[in-house]
């Protein structure tokens, strides 16, 4: 190693300038992201929110829903575009979509408890769409659950230190900084619309995807590759089905049973190419374990259970996927046709 100067005193300014620059830059980035707070992670709300936290929005819409929903849809972002109007046509029940991004059994549980205990709702039907990844045994509850704070008291354990750390480090990420700058740009250029639009019945419109589909510019290949790349490390760490998450699901079904509600569980579909791409990462084993666990719970709680994890299970065409795990409304029509033709009358 060649050192240009062996004189120690010449290196002092170097260390000071480096440390000072790093400190100032990180402080600046952190402050920018904290103040802009583009998705409402932090308490400070000065700049209009660019991305709504789905949980806060769904609680707000649910509390003002009129008439009171008779059917609730629970699940992850993969069910957020399941149209309550379609469900109403299938079942005759006024429906509300309470699906939230990164929705997992603990989310279903706290959302249902909130609806029942705080909003005094008594839905007659609860449709739960679960993902294979929803039972990850090494991913803690997401700090999104803290947005809003009304939901966290219903959790069995409070993983606050983990959340606080996650929220702190999020201040120093490229994604957060980019979103903050985008939020400032949109405000400066007069755009106040949110990235995802949600109707009063909880239905989310994925405008970006809708525009790409309408213009014929939706490229599935890169999205599928992106999904595989994002999910592969998650599956590497997904070594078994989380017992606690199964208990959360069971407890959700217990609440449904206590209020005289009929629950239905279905597994959300995944593109076959994503399934194939995740095979080296243990996908097949995890899927088999999740399906077996759900079948077991279904039998024990007498809850109808549908495995729609592959499109061929319900006659779906892969062309209706809009990325590796999300799809357009056509799939829901096919799934509802499987779930409700005979059941609609029984529920009524």
């Amino acid at each position: 190693m060649k050192l240009a100067s062996p004189v120690a005193s010449e290196w002092k300014p170097f260390v000071r300038v480096f440390l000072g620059s790093v400190f100032c830059a990180l402080t600046l980035v952190g402050a920018l992201n904290y103040v802009v707070n583009p998705d409402g992670t932090y308490r400070l709300r000065i700049v209009p929110q660019l991305l709504w936290g789905a949980r806060a929005q769904k609680l707000s819409l649910l509390s003002s829903a009129h008439p009171a929903p008779q059917a609730l849809i629970l699940g992850s972002s993969r069910v957020m575009n399941l149209a309550p109007a379609d469900l109403q046509r299938a079942t005759g029940l006024v429906a509300f979509n309470a699906g939230v991004d990164v929705g997992r059994p603990e989310d279903f549980y706290v959302l249902l408890r909130y609806a029942v205990e705080r909003l005094h709702l008594r839905p007659r039907l609860i449709v739960i769409g679960v993902d294979i990844e929803a039972f990850h045994n090494h991913e803690p509850p997401h700090y999104y659950l803290e947005q809003p704070t009304e939901l966290t008291p219903f959790l069995w354990t409070q993983p606050n230190p983990h959340w606080r750390w996650g929220k702190f480090t999020k201040l120093f990420t490229y994604d957060e900084t980019r979103t903050s700058l985008l939020a400032l740009y949109r405000i400066a250029s007069g755009h106040r619309d949110l990235i995802a639009r949600t109707d009063s019945d909880g239905l989310t419109h994925w405008d970006g995807w809708d525009r790409q589909i309408a213009s014929g510019n939706l490229e599935l290949g890169p999205s599928i590759r992106d999904t595989i790349s994002r999910f592969a490390p998650r599956y590497d760490d997904y070594t078994g089905v989380s017992a606690q998450r199964l208990e959360y699901l069971r407890a959700t079904l217990d609440i449904a049973h206590q209020i005289g509600s009929q629950a239905i569980i279905f597994v959300t579909p995944t593109h076959p190419l994503v399934e194939a791409g995740l095979q080296p990462h243990g996908y097949a084993s995890r899927k088999a374990e999740v399906l077996a666990a759900l079948q077991n719970i279904s039998e024990q709680t007498k809850t109808p259970f549908y495995d729609f994890s592959s499109p061929q299970e319900f006659g779906g065409e892969v062309s209706h996927f809009i990325d590796g795990v999300h799809h357009d409304g056509t799939f829901y029509e096919l799934m509802e046709a499987r779930m409700f033709p005979a059941r609609a009358r029984a529920i009524q």
Binding site: A4, A8, W11, Y174, R225
Partner: protein, 461 residues
């Protein structure tokens, strides 16, 4: 814990360094460093800590016993005990699965039932590195090259030392012995500057280059049927660069962290893709492993002192074991043998004067040979490797132009650095403020990209 994680950068490192430099008594400092290193290791899975502590204790005792006697038989006995213990650890945790699956497959092929129970053994991270560190310790004491560690605490601090614990470089006790005996009590600004320089360059190599290449490369190697000559070569080139920037980035970070502790680690990479032949490559790639294999395996086997045939055999055996060290998969073994054969061919060619004069031709041929080897190294199976190699040689046609110009740009940029730029150790490092600002900008860019960072590739070994 990963070097490229927020918890390491914002919590572990500042606390560990504060404790290390604020405490005066050397024994307390060693205890602090050992505990911190155990936390670093246990962060991944604390259940494997006792294994490392057991290995440390056995080798410390064996080292002390070897040094305590002149009786050759006793010395040899303790050396064998130490080596057996370490090799048994490796055999069980790393190679049992390969052994069981191979035996069972062979049984099945001959119409018998599976003969060996298949156990779901988790590979303790870094086990290959710390067992090699430990083995060199007892062997060097046996050879009279180093004195035994002053205490179990000293030796534990050496084995667990977090900068090199997980993925090397393989530091020998002889590298660190003198430094441990004369610990610095104050972090000088020159030492700190060197630490900053190596650490930031290593971090940016990993986060800003290797991780940018990772996604398309992983996507390609996940394909059941790779298509197109152009895409195949581009993907394998991408992997070659990803592996280099990932591993050399880790090594640079380890060297930087050692400087933060007032210690110095040996160089582990010396622009390996600028090598002019395969022997030159192994003098530049993962130098600490190459020299370990040379000193503890190749030379004891006879090295190149015997006949040509024996030298060829020694090279092949050494590279076979070097391949096996990398992983419990026959693809690694074949990769090692492939390099052994290349080394033999090079030795024969050199002896007969069959070498090219053009440096560019030598470098290009060497790099292509290395790239072909990386296909075996990266592929999950022989079937996968064969499909990729077939695609590289036109079996699936020329293919289309890559649909990601950004990826092509990253590959081109990374290749330019790897092939033509001086490496971290060659750059003349000056105390100029522009360097400080540049390194601060690189550090900030790397920190912002940490959320998408992946584990280091060499962790699996």
């Amino acid at each position: 814990m990963l070097f490229n994680s927020y918890v390491f950068l914002f919590a572990f490192l500042p606390v560990t360094l504060a404790g290390w430099w604020l405490v005066r008594r050397s024994e307390v400092r060693f205890a602090w460093l050992t505990i911190a290193s155990y936390v670093f290791y246990g962060w991944w899975n604390w259940r494997f800590l006792p294994l490392m502590i057991a290995s440390t204790t056995v080798d410390y005792i064996a080292g002390a016993k070897i040094a305590a006697t002149e009786n050759l038989r006793t010395r040899r006995g303790w050396l064998v005990a130490s080596l057996s213990f370490n090799l048994a650890l490796l055999a069980f945790f790393k190679y049992y699965g390969l052994f069981a699956s191979t035996i069972n497959q062979a049984s099945s092929d001959f119409g018998f039932r599976a003969a060996v129970p298949v156990l779901n053994i988790i590979l303790p991270i870094g086990i290959s590195f710390y067992t090699f560190n430990s083995m060199s310790y007892t062997i060097d004491i046996y050879r009279g090259l180093v004195r035994p560690a002053k205490s179990l605490l000293h030796y534990s601090a050496f084995v667990a030392l977090f900068p090199h614990l997980i993925a090397g470089p393989i530091v020998r006790y002889s590298d660190i012995e003198t430094q441990f005996h004369a610990l610095k009590t104050k972090l000088g600004s020159q030492e700190a500057s060197l630490g900053i320089y190596f650490f930031v360059i290593g971090l940016s190599k990993k986060v800003l280059i290797a991780d940018r290449l990772a996604r398309p490369v992983n996507e390609f190697f996940a394909l059941a049927h790779p298509t197109g000559l152009v895409n195949s070569w581009l993907a394998v080139l991408g992997y070659s660069l990803q592996l280099y920037f990932d591993f050399s980035g880790y090594s640079d970070m380890a060297v930087g962290l050692a400087h933060f502790l007032g210690l110095q680690f040996p160089q582990n990479f010396n622009s390996p893709y600028q090598a002019e032949n395969i022997a030159d490559f192994w003098r530049r790639w993962h130098i600490s492993l190459s020299t370990w294999l040379r000193d503890y395996l190749f030379i004891p086997l006879g090295g190149s002192r015997l006949s040509n045939a024996r030298t060829a055999l020694n090279l092949t055996v050494t590279m076979f074991l070097g391949g096996l060290w990398h992983g419990a998969n026959w693809t690694f073994v074949v990769w090692g043998l492939y390099h052994g054969v290349l080394l033999v061919i090079h030795a024969v060619a050199r002896e007969r004067g069959w070498t090219l004069r053009s440096s560019i031709c030598n470098r290009s041929l060497t790099f292509i040979a290395i790239m072909l080897g990386w296909v075996l190294f990266r592929a999950e199976s022989f079937g996968g490797a064969t499909r990729i190699l077939a695609s590289m040689f036109g079996r699936t046609g020329l293919g289309s132009v890559p649909d990601s110009p950004l990826y092509v740009g990253w590959v081109a940029g990374a290749a330019a650095i790897a092939f033509f730029a001086p490496n971290t150790w060659q750059i003349e490092f000056k105390p100029r403020l522009i360097y400080a600002y540049s390194l601060a900008a690189l550090f900030l860019g790397s920190v912002l990209m940490l959320s998408g960072a992946s584990p280091f590739l060499y962790f699996q070994f």
